[in-house]
């Protein structure tokens, strides 16, 4: 059987629905950054508000997964659940009145950016663990060459060239997957 982390969204959802705890963990890990980004970048939630919204989203996903009609459509469904949850959180925290449109400007533009980022992460997961880790540490965790070198026991002078090679592999992996990346000019 395919490891849950390597399963398609639809397969993963099916296994979660069958009560597979390992599949649930893989689903949470697959979408945790996405949900976190919508809450914190899109809705600018922070601290306990962000954490409560994050946990609430996954509780709703867990409860409502049996009712999801298209297992392959979990990504837009999670995006929508997260948006609604963040709106509820903003209303509950009293920063806005229910009558107002509480969704901050820019969320509509952010979601496609995060969707593409999630596709890039899926391709990243197909690279060697060493490549995936060095790219994640540099770009997503904002670690310096020195920190990366110490953590991975690599000479700092080799980090830049490794990042460059791994980016090329990632680009090739995305092309293999037929990803439509649109770099800005």
């Amino acid at each position: 059987m395919t490891h849950p982390a390597e399963s398609t969204d639809a397969v993963l959802v099916g296994r979660c629905r069958d009560g597979d705890d390992e599949a649930w963990r893989a689903l949470v890990e697959r979408f945790s950054r996405y949900v976190h980004a919508i809450c914190t970048q899109g809705f600018r939630l922070a601290g306990a508000d962000a954490e409560d919204a994050f946990q609430d989203v996954f509780a709703k996903v867990y409860e409502q997964l049996p009712r999801l009609r298209d297992d392959g459509a979990i990504r837009p469904w999670i995006a929508q659940l997260t948006r609604r949850t963040c709106i509820d959180r903003l209303r509950e925290s009293g920063r806005e009145t229910p009558a107002e449109n509480v969704e901050p400007p820019g969320v509509d533009d952010l979601i496609p950016v995060l969707d593409e980022a999630l596709s890039v992460r899926e391709a990243l997961a197909t690279l060697s663990p060493a490549c995936a880790e060095i790219l994640d540490r540099f770009f997503a965790r904002d670690e310096s060459y020195r920190t990366i070198g110490e953590a991975l026991e690599l000479p700092p002078g080799t980090i830049a060239s490794r990042i460059s090679r791994c980016l090329e592999k990632l680009h090739a992996a995305l092309e293999d997957r037929g990803a439509d990346l649109r770099p800005e000019a």
């Binding site: 996954f58 867990y62 890039v120 994640d136 980016l167 995305l174 770099p183 800005e184």
Partner: protein, 87 residues
């Protein structure tokens, strides 16, 4: 691959920094937490002392049982506790 591609990929990776690990672990542990809550509430149905303790201070009662549930699970636990038939 040109420099624009590299920058674009770098930005895409950077758009999704990791969520705090403790949050991820709590969400990943949701099925187990729910099962443990089920067991605890079954016990509370039979054990009036346990039930009274949970009603008086649910969060402490759950913590004593090794559970530190998210707000939504707490709300559900309160609702189910109130709905329990008398012991």
């Amino acid at each position: 691959m040109n420099a624009n591609d590299s920058q674009h990929l770098g930005r895409a990776i950077g758009a999704l920094p990791p969520a705090p690990q403790a949050w991820v672990e709590a969400a990943a542990g949701l099925p187990r937490a729910r099962r443990e809550l089920d067991v605890l509430l079954e016990r509370a149905q039979e054990d009036s002392v346990l039930r009274a303790r949970l009603i008086a201070d649910l969060e402490s009662g759950l913590a004593e049982s090794g559970l530190s549930p998210a707000p939504r699970l707490l709300t559900e636990a309160r609702r189910r506790l109130r709905a329990l038939p008398p012991a």
